[in-house]
């Protein structure tokens, strides 16, 4: 297993200063907080989630010069023979650090249903089972219980379906970081609501926590289920307030050039925050790229004016994704961090009457790189016109591959009540070609 090479000595010092900073004034669990800083023995995952369904033709699977290709051109990448869309020049330079699947075939073409499928790995059937999302499943397997940060953080979330930790419970539900604000400075400094203690004084928080412990100890507060859950969540929240999120949210600690490289927008700074969270032991971070306006809607749902809209969104995506990979590599974290890029489906090869592309689950692209993934490959193809998938990949296969890359055995099951629910549906096996 991977151990502690992700921090340089100086980095360790800096984080320690920032978080335990003033052990005199904070810390009802200083030893634990320190322990959490020392070792990060697990892998982590960052999901770049593209709600609305990005067009494969304008991103990873261009068809220049073909009737379905539209005006989008392709460019060479750092891997000879692999070409992607001109909209992603910085990512093209990093092609040797990631792999693409171009033959996703998932069968759900409705936003809500497809979102549920691609985030939980299970098709919606109306069955009375609240399937957990990928983030919660990974969080449950990789979370360090002593961490001062939550197990799963979701930045600028936007979803077509009401999904969460399901039967895994509140401990693995995502902490939402909205970053929704009209003020560009606030927006860039993504933070968590209600993280500052009332009155602003952390010492006061210690009094409160100790009074709370007194009440918890008394009367009928037995080891009843709800009471134990409440205590677990509160302890997590208290650790987070005490450490102010391990200092993770202080993006202004980063160099200006690095912040610029990520892009001074919600998604770019969200990717930077994702790195800082992973660095501090959060096993799963999700960053969503919604429309670039403040509304936060589904920008990738390009039924009209597809080419302009995707080019615009790629202007935000390309620098952020590339900066994230470079930054993780610089810190020797890339080999332990899986970075996934995908939406709920792709878009029709055929261009519609309004220069748009519609929903298409039958042959679309996703990409991943970092932990566990053999990079520099393209797996599957969609033929000349984007309609002929050669080796279809379904969602359970993708989930099995992702889990395997994270050293999680995809053959395991979770318990929902007395019912075992496999991590991946249909006993799917990983795609070995994509794994190291």
């Amino acid at each position: 297993m991977f151990t502690n090479s992700c921090f340089s000595r100086r980095e360790m010092m800096r984080i320690a200063m920032a978080s335990v900073g003033g052990a005199s004034m904070s810390g009802w669990l200083p030893q634990l907080a320190k322990a959490a800083m020392e070792v990060r023995s697990t892998k982590a995952c960052i999901l770049l989630w593209m709600p609305g369904g990005p067009s494969q033709m304008e991103t990873l699977d261009p068809k220049p010069g073909r009737p379905n290709g539209g005006p989008t051109q392709s460019i060479a990448t750092s891997v000879p023979g692999i070409r992607i869309s001109e909209n992603l020049p910085k990512v093209a330079n990093l092609m040797k650090d990631l792999s693409i699947i171009r033959s996703m075939q998932t069968g759900e073409g409705d936003h809500g249903r497809a979102t549920q499928l691609m985030l939980t790995g299970y098709k919606p059937t109306g069955a009375p089972i609240a399937y957990p999302v990928l983030g919660s499943m990974v969080a449950q397997r990789l979370y360090d219980e002593k961490s001062e940060l939550p197990s799963y953080v979701s930045i600028a979330p936007f979803r077509f379906a009401d999904l969460g930790s399901g039967f895994l419970g509140p401990k693995f539900s995502p902490l939402l970081v909205s970053g929704a604000s009209n003020d560009p400075n606030t927006r860039a400094n993504l933070t968590v609501e209600n993280l500052s203690p009332i009155g602003g004084d952390l010492a006061r928080m210690q009094d409160r926590a100790s009074l709370l412990r007194t009440i918890r100890r008394t009367s009928a507060t037995k080891e009843e289920n709800s009471i134990a859950k409440h205590a677990a969540v509160y302890d997590q929240a208290l650790r987070m307030v005490d450490s102010q999120g391990g200092g993770a949210f202080r993006l202004d600690e980063e160099r200006d050039e690095l912040r610029d490289a990520y892009g001074r927008n919600r998604f770019g700074q969200g990717c930077l925050l994702a790195r800082r969270l992973v660095e501090r032991g959060v096993p799963f971070v999700e960053v969503a790229l919604t429309s670039t306006d403040n509304g936060g809607g589904p920008g990738w749902d390009t039924h009209a004016d597809n080419f302009k809209a995707v080019k615009f969104l790629c202007g935000v995506l390309d620098p952020a994704w590339a900066a994230l990979i470079n930054d993780l590599k610089d810190r020797e974290m890339y080999e332990s961090t899986l970075v996934i890029w995908m939406g709920e489906f792709g878009r029709t090869p055929k261009v519609n009457a309004t220069s748009g592309r519609d929903h298409y689950p039958d042959g679309w692209s996703m990409a991943m790189g970092g932990a566990g993934i053999k990079p520099g490959q393209v797996y599957g193809s969609t033929g000349k016109e984007g309609t002929d998938v050669d080796i279809p990949v379904n969602t359970p296969q993708l989930f099995a591959t992702i889990l395997k890359a994270l050293d999680i055995n995809p053959g395991l099951s979770n318990q929902s009540g007395d019912r075992p629910i496999p991590l991946v549906d249909a006993h799917a096996t990983p795609i070995s070609e994509l794994l190291i």
Binding site: G112, S173, N194, L211, T214, R217, S226, V233, A237
Partner: protein, 521 residues
């Protein structure tokens, strides 16, 4: 009631005006006639429940103490914790009768505060049933207020349960009674699944696409129910001539039929469906209703899986069916049922989990459960409002109820609400809003908090009285010895009067953030 009906069925009428007319008429008639009858019925049924339950589950666990029972009753019947004054009134009543007196006050609105209790009772039960009909995972989102309003009017008119459900099934008064249908995306298939789950305790969704794998439900059952609504579909049908009575799906034509019965040429109208579904002879309907009220009050259904009563064995539903007979033979009186459950030993027992929690255990033994319940987001807010003595008048610009703060807190807490009363699902964001949010900030501020000021500025209170009052206001109980000692020691750490006052705010923070505050034991 006749007059009300005529007004309501007139063309375009402001719905709030109708509601007021209805409320006024009802408060003069129904309350006098039914309250005393209802009280008698509830007493009768509760005694029956004690005996029959004893036979069914074995002896009931010990009774919980009086203050805890009061907290349960206020939360379960009005959706908020009791005030300190209400608790003191309760304790002032003779010990032998105080429980029954309080239940009759809250359920049948006897005694003081009648109007206030009646309104809160109706709103709370409307919210409970809205959550049954549109669980947190449904897509209906913020539009549920209309259904809540509809239900609230029904509860406040003390309408019987069969009539209430019949109105939703039949949709005779189309512009108003179709509220649940519209929130089911005006989709016959979705509505069929909802009606069947909520009112018949049968989950048919699986049979939409294929015959049910575990039970006997077929696609003809599912679409046969949906066919009653085929003319109302918001989605254009491929077969444009589609009329109520038949529906097409994937090229197959299905005929309207009652669930578990054969199609009949004479069956097509929603009025017929409503009559069949809510008939006293339809045991499934009344047993599901009784089981749901039991779950909402006791925390777990007599049969735990409330949405799947079709899979219960005869033994598992024996008690339910017997209570359901009483319920339907008395014409489905909701308050009598609620009162009966509350007066029974089972409701009044201590929180209790049996050794083996497996109800389907091999020897067929059936175990009684009295789980700890989690408060709903609205219960949390309304309890904070009560405990902290927040202003509630619309005229007061600082009333959190009307400034949008209630909506904010409720929606944040609702982001991860439990699927059943037993399920505690709050995560970190919910903890943070309780720990550091504005409502709590105002509540523990000596300058802003009414509760703190009322406690600290009262010349008649000793130091111990103050702690006792804070504890009663939030947790509806007296502090334990250990708590009192710890709180006194904490206050005495400080020397200045200001610091000591502030220390009371910190104690209040801990009380509001304790598990006991957001749970109902």
């Amino acid at each position: 009631m006749v007059a009300v009906y005529l007004v309501a069925s007139g063309a375009v009428i402001d719905s709030t005006a109708v509601a007021q007319v209805g409320d006024a008429a009802e408060s003069q008639t129904a309350a006098e006639v039914t309250a005393s009858e209802g009280i008698a019925i509830s007493k009768d049924w509760s005694l029956w429940l004690n005996t029959e339950g004893d036979r069914y589950w074995g002896p009931s666990p010990a009774r919980c103490d009086d203050l805890l029972l009061a907290r349960r009753l206020y939360l379960d019947l009005l959706g908020r914790v009791p005030s300190v004054a209400e608790l003191r009134d309760f304790l002032a009543v003779d010990e032998a009768t105080r429980r029954t007196v309080l239940i009759d006050q809250l359920v049948f609105h006897q005694g003081p505060r009648t109007q206030d209790y009646k309104r809160t009772f109706s709103e709370h039960w409307a919210r409970q049933w809205r959550r049954v009909m549109l669980p947190p995972t449904s897509q209906a989102g913020i539009f549920t207020a209309e259904l809540e309003g509809w239900l609230s009017r029904k509860f406040s008119r003390d309408e019987s349960f069969d009539l209430m459900m019949s109105a939703l099934v039949e949709m005779k008064e189309a512009t108003r009674d179709n509220v649940y249908f519209r929130l089911s995306q005006s989709n016959p298939a979705t509505y069929a699944a909802n009606v069947s789950r909520v009112m018949l305790g049968v989950r048919l969704e699986c049979a939409q696409c294929h015959d049910h794998p575990f039970t006997d439900w077929k696609q003809t059952d599912f679409w046969g129910l949906a066919a009653f609504y085929s003319d109302l579909s918001a989605i254009p049908q491929s077969n444009a001539s589609s009329r109520p009575g038949t529906i097409e799906s994937n090229g197959v034509k299905y005929v309207a039929k009652y669930l578990w019965e054969q199609p009949s040429a004479s069956v097509a109208s929603r009025a017929q469906l409503a009559a069949w579904l809510t008939a006293p002879s339809n045991r499934q309907f009344s047993s599901v209703a009784v089981n749901r009220f039991w779950q909402l009050l006791v925390g777990r259904g007599v049969f735990a899986s409330v949405d799947d009563l079709d899979i219960a064995t005869p033994k598992q539903r024996e008690l339910l069916d017997a209570l359901a007979v009483k319920f339907s033979e008395s014409k489905f009186p909701i308050r009598s049922l609620i009162g009966a459950i509350c007066k029974s030993d089972w409701y009044q027992s201590v929180a209790f989990e049996p050794e083996s929690s497996d109800e389907l255990s091999v020897n067929g033994a059936i175990a009684f459960h009295r789980p700890v319940k989690s408060l709903s987001p609205e219960q949390v807010f309304d309890s904070l409002e009560q405990a902290l003595m927040l202003p509630i008048s619309k005229l007061d610009p600082s009333s959190a109820r009307w400034t949008g703060e209630r909506m904010q807190v409720v929606s944040r807490l609702g982001e991860s609400a439990g699927k059943s009363p037993e399920d505690y699902a709050s995560g970190i964001p919910q903890a943070l809003v309780m720990m550091n949010g504005k409502l709590t900030a105002d509540a523990i501020s000596v300058e802003k908090s009414r509760l703190l000021r009322a406690t600290l500025d009262s010349p008649f209170m000793s130091a111990l009285d103050r702690i006792d009052t804070l504890c009663l206001a939030t947790l509806s109980r007296h502090p334990t010895k250990e708590e009192t000692d710890a709180f006194v020691a904490y206050i005495q750490k400080y020397v200045s009067e200001d610091e000591r006052r502030r220390a009371h705010g910190e104690i209040l923070w801990a009380l509001v953030n304790s598990p006991e505050f957001v749970l109902c034991r």
